[in-house]
Amino acid sequence: MTQESKIPLWKQDGAKPFIQIKNITKKFGEFTAVDNVSLDIFENELFCLLGGSGSGKSTLLRMLAGFETPTSGQIIIDGVDMANIDPWDRPINMMFQSYALFPHMSVFKNIAFGLKRDKVAKKEITQRVNEMLKMMQIEEFADRKPAQLSGGQRQRVALARALIKRPKLLLLDEPLGALDKKLREETQFELVNIQDKLGVTFVVVTHDQEEAMTLATRIGVMGNGVITQVDEPRDVYEYPRSRFVAEFVGSINIFEGRVFEDQADFVKIDSKEAGSKLFVNHSINCAPNQKVAVAIRPEKIRVSRKKPDTEYNCLYGKIIDIAYMGNLSIFRVKLESGKIVRVTLPNLVRENQNPLTWDDMIYLSWDNDSSVVLIS
């Protein structure tokens, strides 16, 4: 591997995208499910479309698979326009949310189904299916029917069936949605390993931001038929570009305020809600005195009983709720303005001699580079 290839494709200038979604719109009657979406996905990516129900993410996925026809726009995969290509002729396979395993066929036959349609020689089918069974560690279930499998086993069969044709692109609709929490975490990493090993481009649809964070090379956050932000997981979390993204991915505290000083490398905001002047060390494009929102993640807030020595980003309030989660504790702090701030603190020691408790008055503060200003 050369040094150059370690830079992800989406950061290279002039890199050729593998999937080009150009101004795709899908309307169901009066309802616009997907609204003028454009998106480039690169080879070997594990791209996550993250959104709530009704955000249009599944419709977009189904258009890639060919089950829905776009009302307008163009989908190009590996240089080929998909407009007149039927689902059964596309170099794409899909893993369905319900897995959609054929209940009347054994696991082996389910996996072999795609190869048989391609009229692959019988010997090769047997060999390839056996390899796949081995890779997915489901060899002993080859003769079972889907009804005789557990949820996790079914998920593996579905993945095996979708991968057997070595598609250029694999679409996964909520791939881990039907699994319990523990199994989901294990499978997440496994899925990433498989993707890495086979070098197939994955497009995953999910509503679970944690799932998107662990899986994705990049996340596209969708809401109301529009992709609002496309970025690497860390950037989506740390630098949300809109209120929608900030609130959808993880939890966040948002304070309304007005800009009173706007410089090239910082902004100062006066927030009645926060009861403090707020300082953010990045510039924004805004009019003087514009109304903006400052967002700060709960884990980036410091807590102290003494007033910290700072003019900015210093809030004062009363603890009204504590939730002990084991690895961390969540505090809900009520400010004088009535605004409730969520703070999480790691539980660094087992027994705290002077623990924070209900009705304690505390100061909240954070660094200048911890918060972001949201205009939209």
Binding site: F67, D86, W88, S98, F113, D118
Partner: protein, 317 residues
Amino acid sequence: MSKTTGTLWLGQFDTIRTKFDLLRKVRWGRLSVISIPSLWLAIFFFIPFLVVFKISLAEPAIAVPPYTDLFIWDADNAIAEIKLKFGNYLYLWEDSFYLDAYLSSVKIAAISTFFTLLIGFPMAYYIAGKKSSTRTILLTLVILPFWTSFLLRVYAWMGFLKKNGIVNEFLQAIGLIDQPIQMLQTDFAVYIGIVYTYLPFMILPLYTTLEKLDGSLIEAAKDLGATPVKAFFLVTLPMCMPGIFSGCLLVFIPAVGEFVIPALLGASDTLMIGRVLWDEFFQNRDWPMASAVATVMLVILVVPIMFLRTGKNEEKQ
């Protein structure tokens, strides 16, 4: 020795206790639910069948009812006599007329069932694909003919199919034929009658399975490279087998025993077991013979179906 008997006694005590526990474990709720249909079957199916079977072993007689008793009690000599005549069954086997009638009934029923399936499947498929408000209307239309008497509907077909009936008139009017075609009193008319009458019995079970069919299965098949036609034959059709099976049974069984349709629409030589039964009962007044025919018909129909059913259940497990 005493030790052994002691153990034995304890063992017996254990079994008694287990029996007592078993008695307490009987699920009365479950039993009462099952007992109603069981009682129904016993009273209206099994006992009448035994009566028919009993009559089939008697001899015809000029009496009321027109057959001899199986059980004769000679009070003077204190002799109880049971007389079973298996001659009817022997005769059924020897006279090819009955065998022909059976085979012909099965043939007519099988062909009709096939055509019912052929017509019913697309209809059920179409209905299941519609949105739910449209489905209700279409299903009502399917069931609507039942609101008219069955006999009336068969008579209506006579009006359609007769020499100067609507079909012939129409074909002549458009110049397709010069002479009216003989349609009534043919096997063709019998097929039409049976297919028409039993179509709803095919459509309803098919509709139920098709409606439950998970659409993503078809999409998965297409996604894996199956054309819509392939997807239909490899996924939709196999998934519909339970519906096809029950639909075919619901049509085939009554069609084998059908009497009215062949009598009204069929030719005089259209041989069906239902007609033979009718003739034995009401023309010849040979009740034992008629009962033997009925018994054999039941055995021929029910036994293979029972085997099919258990076979299917085992496969499922």
